[in-house]
Symmetry: C2
């Protein structure tokens, strides 16, 4: 309990499961929390009513003394409703992302919520500290899904953020193996947030075909695309090739938005459409070669 992240969240190991669209419902979050880490329900792919259901189910599944959190992308259209549910359901921990930490941190802190905010730069980490968040997640270029415009890698970002802020720091992006887990602390982090490895484990709600497709991806098998909209790391498939081809010929943001359409992440990750879905995963998928459970992951990382 001497670790600052363990102390802050009241957890056994400084391992946080990243909130991920279509992967991290109550089942994954409670499994991670019960294993001694911090599980996060990913609100980004949930209608408000569904989020309430996941919060309640997660709480029911927790063994005594364990906690959990919710990840909230602040650009979510129904953000007010989400925050009201968080208040009503007395969610103890909230990770915010994709927006300014100034806007909701006071609301959450006043209600006794522990707040972390996800950033991709030192400059934003400083803003988080000024806004009064309890911890910062600094996420590097190798992370899956939505990603910073600076393209700074975890290896370069963590030492820089460590210098810039004094509050607890959580490293994200590329953390999967025991080597990278240990290296994150050497770089200056107090804890890690792991996305990819948890997205591909048994308790993740992602489609089995998606998990199988992503395990052991070749290096270069994901690519940061859609930079004219919001940069996202996508697995190579028919859809991503169409995006890359459009970008190569200079397609406009509008054209890309049309090509992307609606609901592609659900189609790919949750429904398993490996051809036309938007498949989001991090570079670390290369290192994950076999099916495994949350318990397997904790046994490997904390042995």
């Amino acid at each position: 309990m001497e670790n600052r992240i363990c102390k802050l969240f009241g957890i056994e190991f400084p391992i946080i499961q990243g909130g991920m669209v279509w992967c991290s419902g109550w089942r994954l979050a409670s499994a991670v929390s019960n294993a001694g880490g911090l599980g996060l329900i990913g609100a980004g792919s949930m209608h408000p009513d569904n989020l309430r259901h996941h919060i309640r189910s997660c709480r029911e599944a927790l063994i005594p003394g364990r906690t959990f959190g919710v990840n909230v992308p602040l650009l979510y259209p129904q953000i007010e409703e989400i925050m009201n549910i968080i208040e009503e359901e007395k969610v103890p921990i909230v990770f915010t992302s994709a927006g300014s930490p100034k806007k909701w941190t006071p609301f959450l802190k006043e209600r006794g919520v522990v707040v972390a905010h996800v950033v991709s730069s030192s400059a934003f980490a400083v803003k988080c500290q000024e806004a009064g968040v309890d911890a910062v997640v600094a996420e590097g270029f190798e992370a899956g899904g939505h990603n910073g415009r600076e393209e700074t890698t975890t290896f370069c970002l963590i030492p820089a953020v460590r210098e810039a802020i004094s509050i607890p720091l959580i490293a994200a992006g590329g953390v999967s193996s025991r080597a990278s887990y240990n290296a994150a602390f050497v770089l200056g982090a107090d804890g890690v947030q792991i996305g990819t490895r948890f997205a591909l484990c048994s308790e993740s709600s992602a489609h089995e075909s998606f998990k199988e497709y992503c395990r052991g991806l070749p290096e270069g098998g994901t690519r940061l695309l859609l930079k004219k909209l919001a940069p996202a790391r996508l697995v190579e498939n028919d859809f991503s090739k169409a995006v890359a081809e459009a970008e190569n010929r200079g397609a406009s943001a509008e054209e890309l938005r049309e090509l992307l359409g609606k609901g592609r992440a659900k189609r790919g990750i949750f429904e398993g459409d490996l051809s036309q879905g938007e498949l989001e995963i991090g570079q670390a998928a290369t290192m994950i070669r076999h099916p495994e459970t949350v318990a397997d992951i904790f046994a490997d990382l904390t042995r």
Copy 2:
């Protein structure tokens, strides 16, 4: 001397100074070798006669018991002449890059040269091992200058290459601070190759204006561009903005080649044209804030 890289090259610290165009002549290479690391003369920006001069000057500047090497991009047009000079001058160590390790490794090994090859993927690292090289340099996305197409970061690449090969492994890309130096070994490397930090130190032959411009660059201040030719990490300036603008509108490889023209790296790095030169540096420049010497760097990393 128990470290495999120290043993292989006969050096005191497992720190290699990357061969860099317009930065690493005899002055930088001999300073690094004399400090207990391995200095490399970068043949990539030298005419063959000039290379011979640098090899001889480096040897003269070395204190007894120190060694040195030459970095050779295998796509160099005068590669046969370069290799003959290396043989004639009895260069003890050669780092090859930008080409197949199969082609020149036997030639060099037969002449008693210790050979390392630079790669950006596990697949290529395996090919190096099969070709009989003595060590592999695995270089991540955050590195300056020419860069792999896979865009795999150091944090993801090193553990993957470590799993793939058994010969000594040198981590490159983003290694600059003591934290990143230590983390590279935790990720599985036996040694590190440092480019950016040495490029910006006193003994580097780069122009002072270039060094000053690069020190403390903001995150996002470099960008991987020219992907339709050969991907290169460039510092943001008027030239890089013109490239980015052309790429945004889908410019062809031919158009980019014309925009690039000839001799821009020399113009930027060596002559200090900060507006129209091609400025190559790694993401680690963010962390380098003050002028320093090779001795300062070794004192910091090995304290």
